[in-house]
């Protein structure tokens, strides 16, 4: 095995295949984004364009739910930033892959970074995957489904209105729950996860409708874990071997 991560067409295909299950769970949300856009009077072109270049489900739904006339430029941009700030925390975790990329491969891959394909990529990287194109392949697949779902939702928006409590929407949470199970590395994760959960619940209660609770929870939990590992004889969760120490 060489030291370098690679970026191949085979990696794109592998990422695309791996994203099958999460694609199914993304369809209802694409539909809802289209329905919401149609309901606020956005044209089909505008609704599709939003999904094409923003490609961020929770931010789009949040902004569309609070849409005003005239269109809320500053408020919407700020909301998108606040809701998506968690993505800033995700990129560095994939550094072992991304550090080897440059140009469009690097900055293009980052465009396709979402919660779901990031989790798939982290899992692949930790089990020894070295092909960084996995991120773009899985993200591209999600993007196609997201955009098609939005278009379809806009077209059927007037006739179809699934209620917010419909269990179809639970599919997205089921994805996150299942992925969380896959991220368990051993008992050393228990304390950091509990810290993350407690802080997140508290911050979510204080600042509803943002993603600050995700950032605060992740930072508090990770810090607790890293500090615990430093101030005792031996860490019982080994330092993540998938994050090499040979950065240039």
């Amino acid at each position: 095995m060489g030291e370098t991560a690679v970026f191949t067409g085979a990696g794109v295909l592998r990422g695309a295949r791996a994203s099958g299950p999460i694609v199914i769970a993304t369809i209802p949300f694409g539909l809802v984004a289209g329905i919401a856009a149609q309901g606020q009077g956005l044209s089909l072109t505008d609704a599709v364009l939003m999904s094409v270049i923003v490609f961020a489900g929770s931010a789009q739904l949040l902004v569309l739910a609070a849409w005003t006339h005239p269109a809320p430029i500053l408020a919407a941009s700020f909301a998108a930033f606040v809701v998506n700030l968690r993505l800033a925390l995700m990129g560095p975790v994939l550094a072992p892959w991304l550090d080897r990329l440059r140009g469009w491969r690097l900055w293009g891959s980052l465009f396709f970074l979402t919660d779901q394909n990031w989790a798939l990529s982290v899992t692949d990287m930790r089990s020894g995957g070295r092909d960084a194109a996995f991120l773009m392949g899985s993200g591209l697949t999600l993007w196609v489904v997201w955009v098609s779902g939005t278009a379809l939702g806009h077209l059927v928006g007037a006739t179809l209105h699934p209620s917010p409590g419909h269990p179809l929407f639970f599919a997205a949470l089921a994805v996150f729950v299942a992925m969380l199970v896959g991220m368990w590395r051993g008992y050393g994760d228990a304390m950091p996860w509990m810290v993350a959960a407690l802080v997140a619940v508290g911050v979510a209660w204080l600042l509803p409708g943002t993603s600050w609770h995700i950032i605060a929870g992740a930072l508090a939990g990770s810090l607790a874990g890293a500090l615990r590992d430093r101030y005792r004889d031996g860490p019982d969760v080994a330092v993540d071997q998938s994050i090499p120490g040979d950065r240039a």
């Binding site: 919407a76 941009s77 998108a80 800033a88 409590g165 269990p167 729950v177 896959g182 959960a197 994050i243």
Partner: protein, 105 residues
């Protein structure tokens, strides 16, 4: 509401571009900042904890906010994931269980 419209509304276009720039700044900015520094071993250990804690911070408040449907669905997803180690099986089991509660609960 409006029927099938294909036009582009200028203020709406500005909102979409603003959202796209803000979102890409998050996606690329975090890694861009990280690329400027030389991470210490402590930072690498910390980053190793980010995936699990971030998803815990995502899932737990959503469950706390949710009701029986979410709890039963989450339990089914965890059980299926542990038993089969398959993402699709877990999503299917979780959603089916949530659906059952919704239908008969």
């Amino acid at each position: 509401m409006t029927g099938l419209t294909l036009g582009i509304d200028a203020p709406t276009l500005a909102v979409i571009i603003g959202m796209a720039l803000a979102t890409y700044a998050c996606r690329a900015g975090g890694y861009w900042l990280f690329r400027q520094i030389r991470p210490t071993p402590f930072m690498r250990t910390l980053l190793g904890y980010v995936p699990g804690t971030l998803f815990a911070a995502y899932v737990v408040p959503a469950l706390v906010r949710g009701g029986l449907q979410q709890w039963v669905g989450a339990a089914a997803a965890v059980a299926a994931m542990l038993a089969m180690r398959s993402l699709s099986a877990a999503i299917f089991a979780g959603t089916a269980a949530a659906w059952a509660v919704w239908q008969f609960g």
